[in-house]
Structures are given as structure tokens and as C-alpha cells.
Symmetry: C2
């Protein structure tokens, strides 16, 4: 029986998970692909280091060439992370006609199109299901399951760290710093959490999702990003009072040929399926013209879910090898990139203001909104402890981002407005 | 450019949806499959009848042979429903080397294995994604996305009619008959709703799902079925009081090599993701050893979602045709069927009883449970309007179905027990 040889780049938690699954599911995998699968070489930084899984020391190497240029290796699985160096490794491997499976969203968000093109040229497969929301087969869903539909909007909770933090802050009324510390202790947040809490990680995933879903080359720079570090306990309290749940939401929407991709904290109605995606879980909500609303839900990260996605991709590569059809599954984007401007982006908006508590202040503010053609869904005015001040919290009807930004700017300039405390988009109501 | 010709069996709402999608997405589909797709012939009962979509009358035929034995037709899409006659049509089409896409769960639950085998023999594809939960790419998820995982349990809300009825009954406190009537008026329930409300439709889908998920030939007769017609308003009220939501749940679980597949009304904790799947929506929750919990959510039926799934399958068939690899994707079940008996099925149970209100009655009942080694999670006792009667509502800790059935039998025989009003499984807490 033919043996397919795997080269593994990296042996951290995901790499160890891959080795573990390949061992424990050997029978099932053989049944599926009709041949035997063996890990030949594993690239590590230090062959002497203690490992999470029991491994034959002879398999380990510190020399990338032992994998990238090894004629015996058929498939390279990249779970080492990193960008520039890794890009070089994969480029070399593809030129040596090796098929690639990667879990690297940073790499794919930046160099995905380039690497996919190179793979197609070399008749190699390059699969990256594990790069977005590890445990959810969302990319396959977009490529296969919804292939005959026109996707008009995707909303994703695609970062487990921030979802864990926001869930704890909302449900337990705890402060950001406090929850971040717990997340770090539990291993849900990195020692340096900047890429997660700043929204960058989610933005990378939204770039990958929207490139596939809209068949358009969306890069990281096309994604507007705002993280969760500025969210206050007041914002969360008011959200709840108004019947909303705050989530870090990646939005990718299309009207006609023009798209918007962004990541920001946004309010969702409590009954929305995304609102009950809690803790470290991820989910992607997809609106298709024909299918209507679908959602994919699961663990966003974790070594075993990610390793499962990696092995699933490897199974597809090996099936393709046996059928002799590698390198034909990547479909290059069909449409040129066209981004919406702020006059084409529609949402409802939440606004919290501190104002001087004087006669006519609310009238002045509501007039301002009316002048820009923006109506209200909800308004609350409450006195503040501070002398002669009150707090106004409101949610608009659907308006353009451009109109809302203009209103915000004017509010800043009004004397009676002490401070614009916060603004958020409200998603999932009627502005699909 | 090559043209792929489609023969359509049936032109009801789903068939019309397929025609509509093929027309409106012609460009996108050509981009994906690299050739043009044309509907050649459509089998209908009456060519003279008024149609939902504009159609060239010449395409319509009342003679199945015009499609089944037409050498110009490459792919047969079956959306006519029915079982025995349809089985004959598809058998003939496959023998004539035509690839098949079907949305017919009744057929697949009964004759799936036979038809799949015939298709493989004839190097034909047979895809049936639309047969389970039309709008959710769950079958692909099971076959591809979770291919390297070991699935231990699936729980599905796989019937839109019953979910619509139960949602309305729970949220609006309305009676079964009343909501059924509304569902029929809205088109969510058939004039004869027996197959839906009796659980048979859900059972067919669970047979298909568990055959794929467990790689074991599970037939409709292997599925224990109970419908929703006996659910009372009291049951729903108590469920809510105890923090549960009642859903018609398909359960497919595996321990070691043995499986259980059943459909019944069951209670779910309100925080469980399946509990917030409302109205006509469907969802399938999947537990994998490696991936943990994932959920697929979407519209369960409806002509456009189902048509979308049909067209997605058709895209896969055509891609396979161009690659020359049809008929190789069906994997026959790996394991022999082994069903659990009642001593191997674990769940928590809800029980509602009417008893004589006399000293010692609760002690007698709790002793009975203790004798069978079953503990309690929750107990409520309340006086009834009826003289000298009370109602006892309890939820057990995890127990075997066998033990619970024995207890139930003994309760029936006790004099002080006036009536065992209802029993339900409680799922989604700790008995994964």
C-alpha cells in the first residue's frame, strides 16, 4: 500500500495535536483516503527540547531543507506561525511541488493571493481552513455549501480572546483589566494581547472570509479596525438595559458590487443567534440571497480543534493526490475590489453623551439629528452625579455612517456637550 | 465552451427555485465550473399547467424516458419527491450513467445505501445535501470538515414544522391545535402534518445524519421515534419554570462501538445553543472528540434554501465531471451496525406525576428512585385544584433509560400515584 509522507513545520500545541490525531485515527484515515499516512520529518527550533507528545527523536530536525527539499515528502503542514520566514519556506516547498496545509491566518491575510497563485502554477494544493475559526468548517461552507448563492453579508465573532473577555465583563460586571488577567491565566489570552484586543487578529480573519465569500481580493488594509480596549462598564450596562449584547463583530457586507469589511465592538439584539455565542466560542453568521440566514458555530481556537481542521485539509489533499487533481480547487477572485465609502455604509448607531443639564439641550440635539435625516429608535436621559450634568443615551434608526460621523463631529463642537463618551454600531436588527 | 445538460424531475417550488438560481447565477456558476449549464428537460405531471417560473414549454415533458434515457443529459436533479416510483427512475438514470442530485430524504433514508452502491458501480455521483436541513451544509461538514475527528454525539433540531409549533406554544402559551392551524396557513405545515408532528420526518433525517457521522448503516427502523402531539401546556410551563426549553430533538450518540439514534421531545437548558434555535429554523449540534462542540444553523426547509443546496451539489458533480473523478466520493460505512440497549443509554429525565396528597407519598417515591440508584437534580411538589391531590415534578441526575423505565413501570402500579402525566429526556447538560 502506498504511503503518503508528511513534513511538519512546527511542533507546538497545534503540531503536537496533529501528530496525536494522525496516530489515534490511523484506521479511520486509512479507510477514508485508501492509503497510509506517515509523518516523516518535523522542523523544530531545538531538537533537544522536551516535547508534549512522544516522538521518535530521529524525526526532528533543525534544518528546514530536510523538509522543503526532501523528495520523499508529499505534503507540508505549516503550524509554526510567523510571516516573512514562513512565506519563504512555503514558497520553496511549493516550487518543489509539495502540497501545503497551513493554519497561519497572519500569513494568509497578507500573502494568501500570492501563495495560492504560486500553488496553482505548480499544480499544488494549498488549504487553510484552520486559519479562520479553527473548529468551524466555515471556509468549506463558503466555498462549497453556499457556492450557488450570492452572499450579501457576513457577521463574525472570530476572536476567542475578546469574546471571552466581553462575555465575562457583561455577565459578571467585571472590569476589562481584571478579566484580561484571568484570560491570560487560563491560556485564552497571550502575554501580549495586543493583536487580539486591538482587533487585528479578527481583521485578518475577516479579510480571508470576505475574499472567499465575495470573490474579491480583500487585504488587511481594506479592513477598518477598532478593538475592545475602550469599552467601559457603563457602555455594557446601557447595552443590557436597552436589550443588546456587546460583541466584537467582524462585518463584511456587499451592496451591488461594492463591499465594506470592518471589525468593531457592536451591539446585537439579545435574541440574535450571535448574541448567545459566549466565552471562547466563535461563530460566523452568513446571509445569502437564496439561503437566507445560516450560522456556523464552534471553538475558535485551541490546539485540538485547529489540529482537526488541519488534518481535514490534509485528507482533502491526499484524496486529490489519489485522484490526480491537485492544484485545481483554488478559484481566483471573480470581481475587482470595490470598497464602499461612508455614504454607502448603513447601520443603526448607539451614542452616549454627557451634556449640560439645561433647558433646550435635548431639543438642540434632536434637531441636529433631524437636519441630517436621522431618526431615533430609543432615547434615555438621566441625571448625573456631577452637578448640572446629564447623560443621554440613544440608538438611531438606520442611517449612513457618513451622516452619523458628521453628527458626531458637530456634537463635539457644541458647548453644551461636555463629552461624547462612546459610539457603537448596532447590528443584526433591520440593516442586513 | 462545453455545455453540461441537466434533466429535472419535478417542477414544484424547489424545482422552480433551481431553475431560478441557474438563471440568475449563470455567470457565477460558469466562473466556478468553467463551463455553461443548461436545463434540457423537465419532467412534470401536466405540461399544460400554469408554472411558478417562466419556462420554455418545449422543455417540459410528461415522459420520464425523455430524461432517464436521454443521451444528451449529464445530470439528473430529482426534486419530485415520492419513494417507490422515484427509486425506479433514479435506478434507471444511474444505469444510464447519469449523475444524480436529490433532495429526497424519504428516499435516501430508505434506499440510500442501495442507490449509493449502484452509483459507485456505475462511476456516477449521487449527492443528497438538500435532503437534511436544506439550508445548512451539514452533510459536507460531516464528510469533510469533521473527517479527521471522531464524532461521539449529534443533537439536531431537524424539523422546521415542529420547531415552529413548539416555539409558538412555549413563547406565546398557545395550544397545539391553534398553532398547528397557523403553521398550516403560513405554509410551514402540510395539510396532513402526520409525518412532521409524529417525528417521522426528523427520524429520516437522523438516519441519514447518523449513517454519515458514525459510518454505520442506520435505517429508519433503527430510530426510536416520539412526536410532539402529546406535549401539554403544563409541560411547557414547568419546563420554563425549571430553566429548560422544550424542543423536538434528534439524538445520535455513540459509546465505544455502539450507538443510539432517537427522536423525541426533550428539555434543553436555556443557555444551550440549541435552545435559542426558534421558529422554522433548524440546527445540528455535533460533539467531536477533538473539535469539541460545533453547531450548524440555518433554515431547515423552504424552496430557495433547498434549491441552493441542490445547486451546490450540482456544482460539485460538474467539477468532478471536469476532473473525471465521478463516483469516487461515496465512502461505504466502515463499521457494522451495533445498537445500544436501554442499559447503555444515559440521560437525565423529567417526570410529572399526579399523586394522592397523603403523608409519606414523597418518601415512597424518593425511595423507589433510590432503590434504582437514581438521584434527583430538582423536585417540585404543588397542591392541585382536585381534592386531596398534588402534582410532583422532578428532574433526575443522569441515569440509564432502563432504570428510568423500570421506575416508571412501578409508579404506574402504585395506588397513591393517580397518573404519570409525562416524561421527557433532559439533554445538553452533563450527559454528552
Amino acid at each position: 500500500m502506498k504511503v503518503i509522507s508528511i513534513g511538519l513545520l512546527g511542533l507546538g500545541t497545534v503540531g503536537s495535536g496533529v501528530v496525536q490525531i494522525l496516530e489515534s485515527h490511523q484506521d479511520k484515515l486509512m479507510h477514508q483516503v485508501g492509503c497510509s499516512i506517515s509523518v516523516k520529518k518535523i522542523l523544530v527550533k531545538d531538537t533537544a527540547k522536551e516535547r508534549l507528545v512522544e516522538i521518535d527523536k530521529d524525526m526532528l530536525t533543525e534544518y528546514p531543507e530536510d523538509i522543503l527539499s526532501n523528495p520523499e515528502i508529499d505534503v507540508v503542514i505549516e503550524v509554526m506561525g510567523g510571516i516573512e520566514e514562513t512565506r519563504g519556506y512555503l514558497t520553496k516547498a511549493i516550487k518543489n511541488k509539495k502540497h501545503i496545509v497551513t493554519a497561519n491566518k497572519d500569513l494568509m491575510a497578507l500573502y494568501g493571493p500570492e501563495l495560492l497563485e504560486l500553488a496553482t502554477e505548480n499544480q499544488c494544493d494549498l488549504f487553510y481552513e484552520a486559519s479562520v475559526a479553527g473548529g468551524i468548517p466555515i471556509l468549506r461552507g463558503l466555498v462549497d455549501g453556499l457556492s450557488s448563492d450570492r452572499i450579501t453579508k457576513m457577521m463574525g465573532i472570530v476572536n476567542g480572546t475578546t469574546n471571552f473577555i466581553l462575555t465575562k465583563m457583561s455577565k459578571e460586571g467585571r472590569a476589562y483589566e481584571d478579566v484580561l488577567k484571568e484570560a491570560q491565566e487560563l491560556g485564552f489570552a497571550e502575554a501580549d494581547p495586543t493583536a487580539d484586543v486591538g482587533g487585528l487578529d479578527a481583521a485578518r480573519k475577516m479579510a480571508i472570509l470576505s475574499t472567499l465569500g465575495f470573490s474579491m481580493n480583500i487585504g488587511l488594509n481594506d479592513v477598518e479596525v477598532q478593538g475592545i480596549t475602550e469599552i467601559s462598564e457603563e457602555d455594557l450596562r446601557y447595552s443590557k438595559k436597552l436589550g443588546y449584547t456587546m460583541k466584537l463583530i467582524g462585518v463584511a457586507s456587499r451592496s451591488g458590487e461594492r463591499v465594506e469589511v470592518s471589525v468593531q465592538p457592536a451591539l446585537l439584539p439579545e435574541a440574535h443567534p450571535l448574541a448567545s455565542v459566549n466565552n471562547e466560542y466563535n461563530a460566523v453568521y452568513v446571509y445569502g440571497e437564496a439561503v437566507g440566514e445560516t450560522m456556523f458555530y464552534g471553538p475558535g481556537a485551541g490546539s485540538l480543534p485547529t489540529a482537526t481542521a488541519v488534518v481535514s485539509d490534509m485528507v482533502t489533499v491526499i484524496k486529490n493526490m489519489r485522484l490526480g487533481v491537485n492544484g485545481r480547487s483554488a478559484v481566483s477572485p471573480q470581481y475587482p475590489k470595490q470598497l464602499k465609502d461612508a455614504t454607502e455604509i448603513f447601520a443603526k448607531f448607539f451614542l452616549r453623551l454627557h451634556v449640560q443639564d439645561e433647558v433646550g439641550v435635548l431639543a438642540r440635539i434632536t434637531n441636529l439629528f433631524a437636519e441630517h435625516g436621522v431618526g431615533f429608535d430609543k432615547i434615555l436621559q438621566l441625571p448625573l452625579d456631577e452637578k448640572e450634568s446629564s447623560e443621554i443615551v440613544l440608538v438611531t434608526h438606520t442611517a449612513t455612517l457618513a451622516a452619523f460621523e458628521q453628527i458626531k463631529q458637530k456634537l463635539h463642537d457644541y458647548n453644551m456637550v461636555r463629552e461624547v463618551k462612546s459610539t457603537y454600531r448596532v447590528e443584526g436588527e433591520d440593516n442586513k
